[in-house]
C-alpha cells in the first residue's frame, strides 16, 4: 500500500506535473497511508526540510556570479578562448571533465558546479571555441554545446567524488554495513571506485571527440564572420 506514493511520483513524472508538487503530494499521501497522523507527517516534513537546507547552498554564490556577469564575465571567458585557434569544443570539455573528476576525487567538489563554473566559465569557453572555428553558431548547436557543458560537470563530479574517502556516499554505505554487522573499509570502497571512474572518463572523452567530428561535418568548411 505504501508503494502508492512511489506510483504517484511515476504518474506525476509521466504527466509532466510540476515535480515540486508531485514530490510533496507523494510524501503526504505515503505518510497518511502508512497511518502516520497528519500533524506528525507535517512535523517530519518540516524537520527534514530544515535539516536539508544545505542542499540549497548555491544561493550564497549568486551575488558574486550575478555581479561578475553584469560586468561581462561570460564575454570575457568567451573572448579568451576564441583567440586560441587549436582548441575545439570537445577538447575544452574533455579538459574540464578531467579537472572536475580529479578535483572531486581529491575532495574538491567545490572546484566546479553549474552556477559557479559551468554557466560563467565552461559554457562560454566551449561556445567561444566553436565560434572561433565555425563563426556564428546556429541555435541548435549552441544548445547542444551548453547541454554538454552541464553534462561534463555532472559526469566528472559523480564518478570522481566516490574515490574520496570522506564523501557522504562512502560514509553512508560504511555506516549501513556496520549496522548490519558486516565488516567494510571506507578506503577500500573508495579505491574500488577507480576502475569505473576511469571507464566513465574514457567513454565520455570518446563521445566528446565524436561530437567534434559531427560539428565539423555540419558546420565545417568556410568560417563565417562573427555577427
Amino acid at each position: 500500500m505504501v508503494l502508492i506514493g512511489v506510483l504517484l511520483i511515476i504518474i506525476g513524472f509521466l504527466f509532466r506535473i510540476n515535480s515540486a508538487v508531485v514530490v510533496t503530494v507523494s510524501a503526504l499521501v505515503t505518510g497518511m497511508i502508512a497511518g502516520i497522523p497528519v500533524k506528525d507527517i507535517i512535523t517530519q516534513f518540516g524537520e527534514a526540510f530544515t535539516t536539508n537546507r544545505y542542499m540549497s547552498i548555491l544561493i550564497v554564490t549568486l551575488p558574486v556570479i550575478g555581479l561578475l556577469e553584469k560586468n561581462g564575465l561570460q564575454q570575457q571567458a568567451a573572448s579568451i578562448v576564441s583567440k586560441i585557434k587549436a582548441v575545439t569544443v570537445g577538447r575544452v570539455l574533455t579538459m574540464y571533465l578531467l579537472i572536475r573528476e580529479i578535483g572531486a576525487a581529491l575532495g574538491l567538489n567545490s572546484l566546479g558546479g553549474h552556477p559557479q563554473t559551468v554557466r560563467p566559465l565552461v559554457a562560454p569557453m566551449a561556445e567561444g571555441a566553436a565560434e572561433a572555428k565555425y563563426g556564428e553558431l546556429p541555435e541548435k548547436e549552441r544548445q547542444e554545446i551548453r547541454a554538454h557543458a552541464a553534462a561534463a560537470d555532472n559526469i566528472g563530479l559523480f564518478f570522481g567524488e566516490d574515490i574520496f574517502v570522506a564523501v557522504g556516499a562512502i560514509l553512508l554505505m560504511n555506516g549501513f554495513f556496520e549496522q548490519n554487522h558486516i565488516q567494510a573499509d571506507p578506503i577500500a570502497m573508495a579505491l574500488w571506485g577507480i576502475p569505473t571512474a576511469a571507464f566513465a572518463f574514457i567513454v565520455h572523452a570518446i563521445r566528446l571527440r565524436r561530437m567534434d567530428k559531427k560539428m565539423d561535418r555540419r558546420l565545417g568548411g568556410q568560417k563565417k564572420p562573427l555577427g
Binding site: 510540476n18 508538487v21 505515503t30 540549497s56 544561493i59 549568486l62 561578475l68 561581462g72 556516499a169 569505473t196
Partner: protein
C-alpha cells in the same frame, strides 16, 4: 564556535529576502504578491529553520508548494544592460573578472583544510558539524566583497543580480530539499521494506549473473524514481546485496559498495528528479528543452552501467 552553519543559512535567507522585497516592489510582474510571498516564506525557513517548531516549518514549506501549484510563481521580466555596456565594462576589468569567481573554491578549500579545528580564544573558529559548508559561506562573503569592490557594485546591485539568477532558477531551487524530505517520509512509512520484499520475490536465487544485473539496474531505476542514489542504496542493499551477494556468494562488501553507488549515479544522470544536477543547469544555461542535459548524458550513463554490471560480476565470481 565563532562561525556556525546557521550563520550561512541566515546569509542565504538574507539574499532571498532581498530578492523578495524587489519582487514585491516590481509592478511589471502581474503576480508580484504571490511570487514575492514565495521567496519571503523561503527566506524565513532558511533564516529561522532552527527556531521555528518543525510543524510550522512543514506548513510553510507546503504553503510554498501551494503557490507553485496554483501558478502563483511568475518570473519577472528583467531588463539586462546592453551587450555594448557589458563589453565596455569587460574591457575595463578584463581577466581580473575571474578573480572573485576563482576565490570561492580556493578559499573554501584553504578554509576547510587549514582552519578545521583551529581555536581562537578557546572557541572553535569553524562549526565542526560541517566545516566545508562554513568555509564555503565565508569564501563567498569574501568573494562578494571582492566583486563589489572591483566592479564598484553596491549591495543593492548584488541583490538585484541575485534576484535575476534566482528567478531564472525558479521553483527548481526548492526541489533538492523537498526530495531529501520525501526520502525521510518514505523511510518512516516503511517503503524500503516493502520494496525489498517484492524484489526478493522475483530474483532467480541461484544465478549470480542475474542477481548482479537486477541489483545494478535496480540501483539505477530506484535512483531515477527517487532522484537520489543515497535513498536507493539502503533499500537495494538490504533487499539484494546482503542476503544474496554477500551472504550467499561471499562477495567483498567494499566492491559491492563502490560499484553499487556508481550504478545509482548512472540513474542520477538519466532522471529529471535529480533536479539540482539535470534541471537547474538547464534553466541556468537557458536551454529550451529542460531535459536536454539528460539526453546528452544517457549514452555515457548506459555504457558505464553496463561496465559496472560486468565489473561486479567478474569481481564476485573471481572472488578477488
Amino acid at each position: 564556535m565563532i562561525f556556525s552553519v546557521e550563520m550561512i543559512y541566515v546569509l542565504m535567507g538574507i539574499i532571498v529576502l532581498g530578492c523578495s522585497l524587489y519582487i514585491f516592489a516590481d509592478p511589471s510582474n502581474s503576480r508580484r504578491f504571490t511570487t514575492g510571498s514565495f521567496y519571503l516564506i523561503y527566506s524565513v525557513t532558511l533564516m529561522f529553520g532552527k527556531l521555528i517548531p518543525p510543524f510550522y516549518t512543514g506548513l510553510l514549506a507546503i504553503a510554498m508548494v501551494v503557490i507553485i501549484a496554483s501558478g502563483g510563481l511568475k518570473k519577472s521580466v528583467h531588463v539586462e544592460n546592453s551587450l555594448q555596456d557589458r563589453e565596455e565594462r569587460r574591457k575595463k576589468l578584463g581577466g581580473k573578472l575571474f578573480i572573485p569567481a576563482i576565490l570561492i573554491p580556493i578559499l573554501t578549500l584553504l578554509g576547510a583544510k587549514l582552519l578545521a579545528g583551529v581555536k581562537i580564544g578557546g572557541k572553535l573558529l569553524l562549526d565542526p558539524s560541517n566545516v566545508t559548508m562554513v568555509a564555503l559561506g565565508l569564501a563567498c562573503i569574501i568573494a562578494i566583497l571582492a566583486a563589489m569592490w572591483m566592479t564598484r557594485g553596491t549591495p543593492a546591485a548584488a541583490v538585484k543580480e541575485s534576484r535575476r539568477l534566482l528567478e531564472s532558477i525558479g521553483w527548481a531551487v526548492l526541489l533538492p530539499q523537498l526530495l531529501a524530505t520525501l526520502g525521510t517520509i518514505y523511510t518512516n512509512a516503511g517503503v524500503g521494506k516493502v520494496v525489498s520484499k517484492g524484489v526478493t520475490a522475483i530474483i532467480p536465487a541461484g544465478s549470480l549473473f542475474w542477481i548482479v544485473v537486477i541489483f545494478c539496474i535496480g540501483m539505477a531505476l530506484f535512483t531515477m524514481i527517487m532522484g537520489n542514489a543515497f535513498a536507493a542504496f539502503p533499500v537495494m542493499a538490504a533487499g539484494i546485496a546482503i542476503p544474496f551477494l554477500i551472504n550467499q556468494f561471499d562477495a567483498n562488501p567494499n566492491h559491492i559498495a563502490a560499484i553499487s553507488m556508481f550504478a545509482g549515479y548512472c540513474g542520477t544522470l538519466m532522471t529529471p528528479m535529480a533536479a539540482n544536477f539535470n534541471i537547474v543547469p538547464a534553466a541556468l544555461l537557458d536551454l529550451k528543452d529542460k531535459n536536454h542535459v539528460i539526453k546528452v548524458q544517457v549514452p555515457t550513463a548506459l555504457a558505464v552501467l553496463l561496465f559496472n554490471i560486468i565489473l561486479m560480476y567478474v569481481l564476485v565470481s573471481l572472488d578477488v
